[in-house]
Amino acid sequence: MNCETYAEWMSAQLDGELAADHAIELDRHLAGCESCQKTRQTMARLAVDIHNLPRHQPDDSAVIAVNEAVHQLALAPRRSDFGPVLDLDELAEFLRVTPETIGTYLDELPSFELGGKLLFRRASVEKWIERREQSILPTEPPHLSTARRHEGIDSDAILPALDNLRMIRMN
């Protein structure tokens, strides 16, 4: 056994990974080897010195570039050029919900299967939306009828609220 191997054992011992029989052998060697005693001291100090090494910071411009790129991606316009037949991901994008949400409505969404793939006819989906609108909003929601009692209510303010309500219920 040479001193290089004993140094590796010292490292393992510092991390609590050295087998008991090796620890006994290492102690026996250390008692008579001045060089390995120095190595052990250096190793103990190395742990502290490594801990104290500086953490280097990337330049602000790199950080700004990443943040800007992410915001650009987040602001990217939504797709609107859908064809007559949609797959599940396209339908999710079309309806502006996640594919998981689509999954919860699969039993009522009009669909067909082709080549093991579930597909949706856009026209059928739009009809489904219309049916849903009629069944969900047969009368004005209570909070809107209350709002209308107030004089000077702006109908332009109500319509977005109605849309929001539809979207919330669809989700």
Partner: protein
């Protein structure tokens, strides 16, 4: 959002939450930059470019990440691959310019190692700048994959099991390389200290 795991943040980002991505970037920008900076032999600009490239690619191809797999070894794998590709392309470019790979990896960083500790954008400095500079240079001398393993474990705090995933090695092999690297560093540090004492004695 601060309490969420990396994996949960990635899932949120995959669903379109850009704040979740910002949080991930905040968590990883300094650790990944330090890893890349040292992996690239202190080439600051290249490390910054790669950091930028990695996160922008990640933002564009967020669906490539499988949320069932742990995020940290995954992102370090991406960083390591980018870093090694960069070193290879530099070696190729330098070979074409009849420069040797040794010259590239040991003496032509954007900022020479002796200037490393002079920057004011570092923190946590306790030991003397000379000692830190010497230690950085000695770690840089370690061969691959011992150097990568040492950087990932001792400086970035990744456990051996995660490093094994990053480097596609057996965890026992990673452990062996790590202890060998630490023993080698101690040997070099002892030799340096002996050399310095000898020089002082001669003066």
């Amino acid at each position: 959002m601060a309490d969420l795991t990396d994996e949960a943040l990635m899932v949120l980002f995959q669903k379109g939450n850009s704040c979740a991505f910002e949080r991930l970037f905040e968590r990883y920008r300094i650790p990944l930059f330090n890893f890349l900076f040292r992996l690239l032999h202190f080439q600051r600009e290249s490390a910054e470019d790669l950091l930028q490239e990695i996160f922008i690619k990640l933002a564009k191809a967020k669906d490539l990440y499988d949320p069932r797999s742990p995020f940290r070894p995954w992102i370090y794998t991406v960083a390591r691959n980018h870093g090694l590709n960069h070193l290879r392309s530099q070696a190729f470019a330098n070979a074409k310019n009849t420069l040797s790979f040794d010259a590239l990896t040991t003496s032509t960083p954007d900022r020479p190692p002796h200037e490393l500790a002079d920057r004011d954008d570092t923190f946590g400095t306790v030991a003397s700048k000379d000692d830190q500079q010497q230690l950085e240079q000695i770690i840089d001398r370690l061969p691959t994959p011992a150097r990568e393993i040492f950087l990932l474990h001792a400086l970035e705090g990744l456990p051996h099991a995660e490093i094994a995933q990053v480097l596609e090695l057996n965890p026992a092999t990673v452990r062996t390389h790590y202890h060998r690297a630490r023993a080698q560093l101690c040997q070099w540090l002892t030799m340096e200290a002996t050399g310095r004492k000898g020089a002082q004695h001669e003066l």
